[in-house]
Amino acid sequence: MVMKTFAAAINDALTVAMELDSNVLCYGLGVDDPKGVFGTTLGLKEKFGSERVFDMPTSENAMTGIGIGAALYGMRPIMTHQRLDFALLSMDQLVNNAAKWRFMFGGQRGVPLTVRMILGRGWGQGPTHSQNLQAWFAHVPGLKVVMPSTAEDAKGLLLSSIFDPDPVIFLEHRWLHNLHGEVPEGDCRTPIGKVRRLREGSDLTIVAMSYMTIEAVHAVDHLALQDVSCDLIDLRSVRPIDWEAIADSVQRTGRLLVLDSGNLTGSISGEIVARVSSDCWDALKCGPQRLAMPDYPEATSPSMTAGYHVRAEHIAEKIGAMLSRKVEFASLKQQRKHPHDVPGDWFSGPF
């Protein structure tokens, strides 16, 4: 195990995959530029050459279809979008071709394509640079949708995605890129479709994804000092969803809070609440709850984003309400020294 950032873990996974298999390609806008997509693709072109690692025309839809064609030929392409928002131009190829190819031709050939998309929030990213549309992709049979929260999973899930025989949408949150964690060396794969239990507890189940998991850790650890015991589940993939693990936890705790990094209506959190309500009704002690982004686009000015995002204090407050217990949560906000719209002191923009 080596301590490294989430971004370095992505870089590590890409390097390992390209060393393991000469069919792995890595392309996208800016993958070989001096910034290397927030450092995640730095050095790859030097190591593996410009045929396997290349910048591309600003043609998201065709370049996705080209990845599909290359995958059908036997390559393992990894396409990267610096913003999920840019990938919306490629929905035709993702939904009509990548997701359907194996099915509509009767199982003859799959599309081992991985599409990395970077999600964000805050720092003026605004309406079209910050969208968390995981629910769109998760709605499509034939796609797998992965959302790592830790550096270890960033590497393990990316390796699993690249070597998956079918298309995987790999969603990495910009606020996670500088997070440090222990990362195994070499070819270490995290299975897609299995949750990670980050905290064990008996009062309430929290199901979180991507960056929301980090806010949840702060809230859960803070409440632990007040004798509130939460079971914290990091989804890791939102399609498929590990229903068994969620149901097991809710059966024990009787309470469910789902944290979603996307807008509330039509979200993954809604799907989880629906499923748990159907399957675990008798175990529930109170109505399942959700915290997600409001049903509004994200505004750009910091004056309008302060209350827009879900933070640890909101989570702690909600948990207190669900348990009908008075809990202290205000200090979670007071402890934070950096501005509300950046992930930490390390972040100085412009991205």
Partner: protein
């Protein structure tokens, strides 16, 4: 050509019975392009196509029985009943797939060519598309990349003047040539008579030689005409979106009659030989329909297969139940 024609005429004859329960786009009148290009391509070359793909599939050597069974929704179909007329595939002869979204396979064909380049293969990727596909943004994006990377791609444009009922003049500026426009994107382009199979073969072969020797992508625009309605077995000139006179002028250019008359007149083939060929084809077509007819339907449970390589053991991706 004759085989394509007879297959599709038989489809048209049987279609009203209602047993081919999927949208079916026939190529009657356009056979020369598929036949000439199919002959010029090597079996190891790859091809993709769009919604009107029967002739392309057959021209590339695709299995006739599997195609008809697919249109009938049978388990012996080339896509095991999951795709229908618009999703044909026969990888054994390099026909990598046709799909229903106009221009949808254009980038896929370019991606196949990128794979060929990475693997130093001498194959060519042939992308069959129509005149409407060049109106899609993904066409320009795909051509651009193919030109930038000098990929072994043949963009094979069949211009049949209509997209469903929309004539070319409401979709593209009057007088603009598709080939000329595409040339502006940086590749060699040419045009040809799409109802002259010998010309199709010669022009395609020449382009393929150049592409194969590293000359980069090319586009050929072949002019042709769809005799039947956009989708279905009928003549539809009564609708008024095109004139009977226009149709008759194209019908007079029937690629099969033209080819046959040249060969009969030149004494290259006798009327008796033509008759024998017709009989052979009719027999083959008839047997293929019998095969499709006799083949079993896939069972209801197979609707829930083939989504992923190995059906995931994680709940939520598997079907909860198979509905009757």
């Amino acid at each position: 050509m004759k085989r394509m024609r007879l297959v599709e005429e038989e489809i048209a004859r049987r279609y009203p019975a209602g047993d081919m329960r999927c949208p079916t786009h026939l190529s009657v009148g356009q056979e020369a392009v598929a036949a000439g290009v199919g002959l010029a391509l090597r079996q190891t070359d790859l091809a993709v196509s769009g919604h009107r793909a029967h002739a392309h599939y057959l021209g590339k050597g695709g299995n006739l029985k599997a195609m008809l069974a697919e249109i009938y929704g049978k388990s012996t179909g080339c896509s095991r009943g999951k795709g229908g007329s618009m999703h044909l595939i026969d990888e054994s002869v390099g026909f990598m797939g046709s799909t229903a979204i106009v221009a949808g396979t254009i980038p896929v064909g370019v991606g196949l060519a990128y794979g060929m380049k990475c693997k130093r293969s001498d194959q060519v990727s042939c992308i069959f598309h129509g005149d409407a596909a060049v109106e899609a943004g993904v066409f320009f994006e795909s051509v651009n990349f193919a030109v930038v990377k000098k990929l072994p791609v043949l963009f094979l444009c069949e211009n049949n003047l209509y997209s469903v009922y929309s004539p070319l003049n409401v979709r593209q500026p009057k007088g603009r040539s598709i080939a000329k426009m595409a040339e502006g994107l940086g590749m060699k382009c040419s045009t040809g008579d799409g109802n002259d199979v010998a010309e199709v073969y010669a022009k395609t072969s020449e382009a393929l030689d150049s592409i194969r020797s590293g000359g980069g992508p090319q586009l050929i625009e072949f002019s042709t005409y769809r005799w039947l309605e956009h989708c279905g077995p009928n003549y539809d000139n009564d609708l008024g979106y095109r004139t009977e006179a226009e149709y008759l002028s194209w019908k007079a250019q029937d690629p099969i009659a033209r080819f046959e008359s040249v060969h009969l007149t030149g004494g290259i083939v006798s009327a008796a030989e033509v008759g024998r060929m017709n009989l052979d084809i009719e027999r083959e077509v008839s047997l293929a329909f019998e095969f499709a007819d006799a083949s079993p339907f896939p069972d209801a449970a197979s609707a829930y297969t083939d989504l992923h390589h190995i059906e995931s053991t994680v709940t939520g991706i598997q079907p909860e139940s198979v509905r009757a």
